[in-house]
Every structure is written in C-alpha cells, then in structure tokens.
C-alpha cells in the first residue's frame, strides 16, 4: 500500500513506536504466565475428554483396519 509523504522504513526508527512492549519478540519469548491451578472439576473434565478422544481414535483406527482387510 502506497502512502504519500510517509516513508515507513525510514521514519520508523524504533519498533516500540508502533508495537506494544508485550508484542516485542524478545518479551514474547521470555514471558511465562506460569502454571494455572486446575480445579478438581477441570481435571476430571480433562481426563474424561482425553479418555474419550483416545477411545474414539482407537475405534476409528479399528474400523479403518477392518475396512481395509
């Protein structure tokens, strides 16, 4: 996109002019929010959905294998 009277590359002396400090790649890389404490309900849900996904994946794989043989 052309913009009159504005030489972006030259006028932009420092990325902080246009980026939020949190956006700077060095800060993104070094920022760690830390582990969140999961409630027992959330943990149960995680396990339930994980078991569901693995069981169903096994089922689909079995069906694929059965169809191929």
């Amino acid at each position: 996109m052309k913009m009159k009277n504005f030489q972006l590359d030259q006028d932009l002396l420092w990325p902080a002019d246009a980026l939020e400090p949190e956006q700077l790649s060095e800060n993104v890389q070094n920022r760690h929010y830390g582990k969140k404490q999961l409630s027992p309900g959330a943990k149960l849900l995680f396990w339930a959905l994980r078991v569901y996904a693995l069981f169903m994946l096994g089922l689909v794989t079995y069906q694929a294998w059965a169809n191929l043989h």
């Binding site: 996109m1 913009m3 504005f6 972006l8 590359d9 006028d11 932009l12 420092w14 990325p15 902080a16 002019d17 246009a18 980026l19 939020e20 400090p21 949190e22 956006q23 700077l24 790649s25 060095e26 800060n27 993104v28 890389q29 070094n30 920022r31 760690h32 929010y33 830390g34 582990k35 969140k36 999961l38 959330a42 849900l45 995680f46 959905l49 994980r50 569901y52 996904a53 069981f55 169903m56 994946l57 089922l59 689909v60 069906q63 694929a64 169809n67 191929l68």
Partner: protein, 447 residues
C-alpha cells in the same frame, strides 16, 4: 510473571511487524474518506485464511460426498450451523491471541503444564500430518483431471508452498495465500452450471429437510465429516499464531471479528456450492459414496460439461494447496512456541531455520506418503475429518479455559453468552462422536 522491557537491539521480526502496525496507526489517525475500507484491507487475513484454509481438499470431498449421497436437504443448513460454531471458536482464539500476544501451544504449556501440553501437541501433529497427506491427494487428483502426472503435481505444490514461505515476510505470505484462497469460490459457478432448484434450496435452508433414508450411520459419518470440515484443532493453533505474527492487539478485536465473519461466509458459500454442485449425482442415482476428487469431476462432466468439471478439479487443487500452506505453518508455529525457538514468518530463514524446517519437512513427508504406491489414500481422505472432530472436544476445553482466564485475558475474557454457546458446541461435538462410537460398536442398532 511478565518481563516487558525494550530490547537493546532492533530485531528484524519486530521491525517488519512494526512497519505493518504503523500503516494501521497512520490510517486510523487519518481523515481519509476510504479509511474503513483501507483498515479492512490492512487487518483482514488470519480469519479469512483459517476459514478458507479449512475448506480444504478432504472438506470439499466431504461436501461433495454429502451432496451426491443426500442431495439438497438437511446438510445445507447443517453446514451453516457448523460455520456458526467455527465463528464462535475462532473468535475466542482471536481474543486470546490479541490479549496475550502468545501462540496457542505456548499458552497451553505455560498454563496447563507439559503433561497436558504434549497431549494437545500430539493431537495437533497427528491431525496435521494426516490432513497434509489428504491435501496432497487433493492436489494430485485435481491436476490429474488435466492429465498432469502425480509426481509433477506434488512437486509443483511443494514448490509453491516453499516459495510462499521463503518470502520471509508475514504480510507478503498472507496476501499471496489470500489471493490463492479466493479461488475456493470456483465451486459457485460450478453449482450454477448444474441449474439448481432455488426454491428447493431455500426450502432446505428453512426446514432442514429432506433427509432421504432417515437418520443412519452414514448420516452420522457425514455429519462428523462436515463438522470436521469446519472446526479442527489446527485452526486454533494457526489462527492464534497468525494473529500474533500479524501483530493484532485488543484494539483490533472488532476488525478481527469481521475478518472471521467474512471468512466464515465465504467458506460456507464454497461448501454449500460443492453440495449443490454434486447433488445432481444423487438425483441421477449415481453412487458416488467412495469417489475420490477427480472422480467427482469426471462424474459431473456429462452434467456440467468439460469446463464445469475442469473448474471443479481446479477447485480441489486450490483447496489442497492453500491448506498445505496454512496447516504446515501451524505445525511450524507450534514447534517454535514449545521449543522457544524463533517462530515468525517475518524472520529470515537463517535466524529461524527450525521453524521453516518443520514447515517444509511436514509438507515433504506428506508428499512422499502420497507418492508411495498402495498407500490407503482414499480411506485416509474420508476418515481425516472424523478424526479431527474426535480431537476437537479436548482442544475446545483448552480454548474455553484460556478464554476465561482473567489473569492472561485481562478485559477480553469470555462473556456469559459466549461461554453458554461454547459449552453447547463442546457437548454437541462430543455427543455426535459418542453416538458415532455406539453405532460403530453396535452396527445393527436402529437410530
């Protein structure tokens, strides 16, 4: 917790992103008449790409199988419903990306730990690999219609994917991919060539019928395939990383929502057009249940002529190509995020070579599988969307918890209404999977 300071050296990635952001700021503060249009042009991208990227080869194949098996009826409004679900899910990832400026994989590892993180990454990488294989099947089948050899088709697609990534500039990569993605709409003229019955289509949209043969295991399979054609784990990772790479902030959330909505509308039009285009096969009782992409085009030739079927084949090629670009990028982003290596399309290859290596290696590996003789490609193409649907509930739980995490989301956390709709989506997708599991284990059970 947060370590924010101004680095001593100017990073090339930051500089490129800052140039893109400065353009947005200049337009925002200007008094130009076409200000809204310019801002729309500058801020559109991740949402359209994620939606049209998901209208990929297996998705278009699922829609074609749907149209040829059930005609125009229940599935047209159902596809609209799936795109509504996709909008809700992607809107959450937009907010998470804009509020945290971190990728999805990085946040999952940070907030839920490596144990759950590796499960999530396992789902992503398995799904991505199988999907990439099916994209190359689409590329091969699409160009196969024009008598182009499988090897040449695959090499051409690989060359384009590598070439686009080597621009080493997010903005250029995004614009080229957007340009390619728009060709997903070639299914619209194909649909018109079949002279669809508009009254019947309107009736189907309002009344969700007919559903010939009633509710069956096959309906369930296609429902799952069509859900998997609109909401899949790679979309979450790609969209959030692209939002971060583009440099969107919380101020851009309304523009990001428009971006997703435009993408959802375009993708829904493409999907419904594919159903309408293949519906004549159902009307003529042509069994197309196990058709591959090129066979759909060939079967349609007596109905819509050579140019129409050529457009259909070209559409399948384009669908595969755009998805290879976006899906392989999602693998690269996720790898870079969890290994804390540079991971941006604004980075030069020598600075971020592991990121680019994953993008190229995942595409090359899938290409090799597709060229391997006797690989069960057609079955992979049909089950890949089903697998994506099954992997979605755990992935959605991560999104829901992150979008409600006030510590990282600040003021952009989920509203009560979004939570109710999102929970309903998780329950709906999980229940569809459970019913599918039951009828698979007990095939003689009447639905």
């Amino acid at each position: 917790m947060a370590v924010n300071h101004f680095p001593k050296e100017i990073n090339i990635e930051d500089r490129k992103r800052a140039i893109d952001r400065k353009k947005v700021q200049v337009i925002k503060s200007s008094q130009r008449k076409n200000k809204s249009l310019l801002l729309f042009w500058l801020l559109i991208g991740p949402g359209v790409l994620v939606m049209l990227g998901e209208n990929d080869a297996p998705s278009m194949l699922s829609y074609a199988a749907t149209g040829s098996t059930f005609g125009i009826g229940f599935f047209i409004p159902f596809v609209l419903l799936t795109f509504f679900m996709a909008y809700i899910v992607q809107e959450m990832t937009l907010r998470i990306g804009a509020a945290t400026h971190q990728g999805h994989a990085q946040l999952i590892f940070d907030r839920f730990g490596a144990f759950w993180g590796w499960f999530a990454i396992g789902d992503l990488l398995l799904g991505n690999f199988l999907t990439l294989v099916t994209e190359f099947i689409g590329v091969r089948a699409g160009l196969g219609f024009f008598n182009i050899s499988a090897v040449f088709s695959v090499i051409l697609a690989l060359g384009l994917v590598i070439g686009v990534s080597l621009t080493q500039r997010y903005w250029t990569w995004e614009r080229i991919t957007l340009g390619l993605a728009v060709f997903n709409l070639v299914f619209v003229p194909v649909a018109f060539m079949t002279h669809p019955n508009f009254a019947q289509t309107a009736h189907a949209l309002v009344f969700w019928n007919p559903l010939p043969g009633g509710f069956s295991q096959q309906v369930l399979f296609l429902m799952m395939a069509d859900i998997g054609a609109t909401v899949t784990p790679w979309m979450l990772y790609f969209h959030q990383s692209a939002v971060v790479d583009k440099g969107l902030t919380t101020e851009d959330i309304p523009a990001g929502r428009r971006d997703i909505a435009v993408g959802a509308i375009l993708a829904a039009i493409g999907g419904i057009a594919a159903i309408i285009a293949t519906a004549p096969l159902f009307a003529r009782h042509i069994s197309a249940q196990n058709f591959a992409a090129a066979q759909f085009a060939q079967a349609l030739e007596p109905i819509i002529g050579h140019w129409g079927s050529a457009l259909f084949a070209l559409g399948i090629f384009e669908a595969g190509l755009v998805a290879i670009i976006t899906i392989s990028s999602s693998s690269g982003y996720a790898f870079g995020e969890i290994t804390a290596k540079p991971h941006s399309l604004n980075q030069p290859v020598k600075e971020a070579w592991p990121f680019y290596a994953i993008i190229f290696a995942s595409a090359i590996l899938a290409a090799i599988i597709v060229l391997t003789p006797n690989a069960p490609l057609e079955y992979i193409a049909l089950i890949v969307n089903v697998i994506a649907t099954l992997a979605m509930p755990p992935a959605l739980l991560f999104v829901l918890l992150l979008a409600n995490d006030r510590e990282i989301m600040k003021r952009s956390y989920n509203s009560v209404i979004t939570n109710i709709i999102a929970i309903a989506i998780v329950v709906f997708i999980s229940l569809t999977g459970i019913v599918y599991g039951i009828v698979t284990v007990f095939p003689h059970l009447k639905l």
